[in-house]
Symmetry: C2
Subunit: 416 residues, 2 copies
């Protein structure tokens, strides 16, 4: 019988949107390795190494650093449903779409949710968060580091201190920012962090690294439970209410990832191979070097866009290194430009959500694409598409400005 559909054979693309971006070929090669049984000693070693590598990525000593088998929001939900008991108060500072997502998830797990909102394109002054904490007295503060919907990066060091001083837990979603923006889990006193692979870590979506400290462990252990069917006689569960999700039960996942190796899900072997390789590539390059590379690429892209006469979106002092928002110019149809970028040049750039839908393009420089060639190629293509769309703009300047910026970054680095 002939195959009902062709084999997977994607057309050539350069993924310069807000993620997913092109996977590092090393990650895809790692994922092509033969499978191992989940209790094979070699596979358990790969699991341990994955934990150790992500401790470096998160800059943490946290023992509990492992993977949730799902996309980035699986990590968010695992954190929320395991930390928050029904009725617990949570404060969600919202500065973009993924803050709304946290409020939504926290509501679903039955928490009493209080939100504060910052205008899209800005971040919070830590003092605003402190005041809200003093008013709400939450168990948990949950927010994004970087929210791709607005391109903003929330400074977290002071918020960590503020939360710790008030004995409030701090959960951070670093999906969009990790690997390209500074994140110091231990130094900044962040209690729990999750992320995904499909942004600066240059892997496919589908695995959500998580880390949490002993403060979160204590909260989760209170709800410790062993699954029916493998529960030993005489097991005494924690005194807290059972976690509403089996799949996202962090207490059971600790038992699975620890030396106990207590059966839970069947670990997603290929995604673990990929996650491990993402971290290995980043640690090999060095976190500081990767951050500098993302900053250089993002600044070069921004310089190029401005040289083209375009206006950047949001407070540029707090922009993530790895994604730039651009106002769609007056008289230009945003979606037609995106379509031409894709169809004529093979380059994907992003639109936006909610209040920014249709008004903002988003261009990412992440992972393997946080380099000179993808940036120059994208700027050249965008200029051509905008000229074709009838926009009057200074021709040939964008690529030159970006090349200047890359040279400047190189000289600064060499002088340092």
């Amino acid at each position: 019988m002939t195959a009902p559909y062709d084999e997977i054979n994607p057309p050539p693309r350069l993924l310069m949107g807000p993620g997913p971006i092109d996977a590092d070929p090393r990650v895809l090669r790692a994922m092509a390795a033969p499978l191992l049984g989940q209790f094979d000693p070699v596979f358990r070693r790969y699991m341990d190494e994955t934990m150790a590598l992500y401790r470096q990525v998160f800059r943490t000593e946290n023992r509990w650093t492992f993977l949730i088998d799902g996309t980035a929001r699986a990590g968010i939900e695992a954190s929320m449903v395991s930390i928050l008991e029904p009725g617990d108060r949570v404060l969600v500072p919202i500065f973009g779409r993924f803050g709304h997502l946290k409020r939504e998830i926290a509501t679903r797990v039955g928490a009493e949710v209080h939100a504060i909102e910052a205008e899209w394109g800005t971040v919070f002054d830590p003092q605003q968060v402190a005041e809200a904490i003093d008013r709400v007295r939450p168990k948990l503060v949950a927010l994004c580091q970087g929210d791709t919907s607005t391109t903003m990066c929330q400074p977290l060091d002071e918020i960590g201190r503020i939360c710790r001083e008030r004995d409030v837990l701090l959960y951070v979603d670093a999906t969009a920012s990790i690997g390209g923006n500074r994140l110091e889990v231990d130094a900044w006193q962040i209690d729990a962090v999750t992320c995904g692979l499909q942004k600066c870590l240059a892997g496919p979506s589908g695995s959500a690294p998580i880390t949490f400290n002993d403060r979160v462990e204590a909260v989760v252990r209170r709800r410790h439970h062993i699954e029916e069917g493998i529960r030993p006689a005489g097991f005494v569960p924690g005194e807290g209410p059972r976690i509403a999700s089996n799949y996202f039960d962090l207490a059971m996942l600790m038992d699975y990832w620890s030396d106990k190796a207590l059966n839970h899900h069947t670990e997603a072997t290929s995604m673990l191979y990929g996650s491990r390789e993402c971290a290995r590539i980043l640690v090999e390059e060095g976190l500081d070097a990767a951050e500098a590379r993302h900053r250089a690429a993002g600044q070069a892209l921004a310089s190029g866009l401005q040289a083209m006469g375009l206006t950047l979106f949001g407070d540029q002092r707090h922009r993530m290194t790895n994604v730039v928002g651009i106002h769609v110019p007056e008289g230009v149809e945003g979606e037609a430009v995106r379509r031409s970028m894709l169809e004529d040049f093979g380059i994907e750039i992003g639109t936006s959500f909610g209040p920014l839908h249709g008004r903002i393009w988003r261009i990412g420089t992440m992972g393997v694409n946080a380099r000179k060639q993808p940036v120059l190629r994208s700027l050249g293509a965008l200029e051509a598409v905008l000229i074709r769309a009838g926009l009057a703009l200074p021709r040939g300047e964008a690529v030159q400005a970006a090349m200047d910026a890359f040279e400047g970054a190189r000289k600064t680095a060499a002088a340092a």
Copy 2:
């Protein structure tokens, strides 16, 4: 900087346990393809093709046939949390560990759970299920088709009819059985089915295909909701209680997989490529041929084991085609045998759970390993290990018996 750990490089293994088993190399190659943006027209086409292929795998016309981004139990939880409202009654017929898992998950989602239990190694008479339904009057019956913990395969055709006659929904977890055992979703009147890739579909764990019909759709739509942050003004949610999980909200996943393409998670690109290829391989071979191949391999394995003087576990009339349970012989240390199989022969076989722990080995013949060579290799190795362990057994008979069985199956097929 040197890599802190070596690249992924698993030792050669033949995975003859209850799953995961060796992935088909075609699946791993598909997963190594470059990524695409999740709203790229080509990627949306791959999503549609994946839906169409799994309709064939499930033998269904159900429009709602897609993937949950997680391991097999992600599919179970998505079904339970979306179908069952808190307080709803559910009947769980338990004939092994994965029945207990269903009771556990249903309890966590707040349902009123009623269970009936069959002794491990047996299945239910449909009449027992009918009587329990008449007593409990549940909204949903949730059970496994095949439970790998006992190797049993529950006949479902009558149970489907019984549920439909009583207007009860029927959910089936076909993770362990699909692709190697007959499953007729529409003909047997099953309302929702989920599975995973890591058994007869010969893929890695990490993607959970799901299908459900309009009866389930109606139940889920009652709880329809659009996520905060992308919700249009004036949206009217369903009148039912909001689904407790964002990640597993089938109503939102329908919006994501339909032409609406409403943003939810970022689809796990590589896992989708792999899932699509698993289905493509199966449909290419033909479902009947794949089932016959699994039956032939399972029977050959069973013949070989019996020729070695070993005793099979459970009611052999209702054994899954793709996994055989064997009583660990008196005086033999089960774990030492498994270790020697792995270390000396590179072959993984399984232990068991709960009441069978340490008493039963489980050997799978699934996916690419449901073939003559892996079966003969495993039998030869097991015989050698058992001789070394001091067991008196008829030497050289096992492989011959399996070869006879394969020849018999081939002749039967040729005569048919």
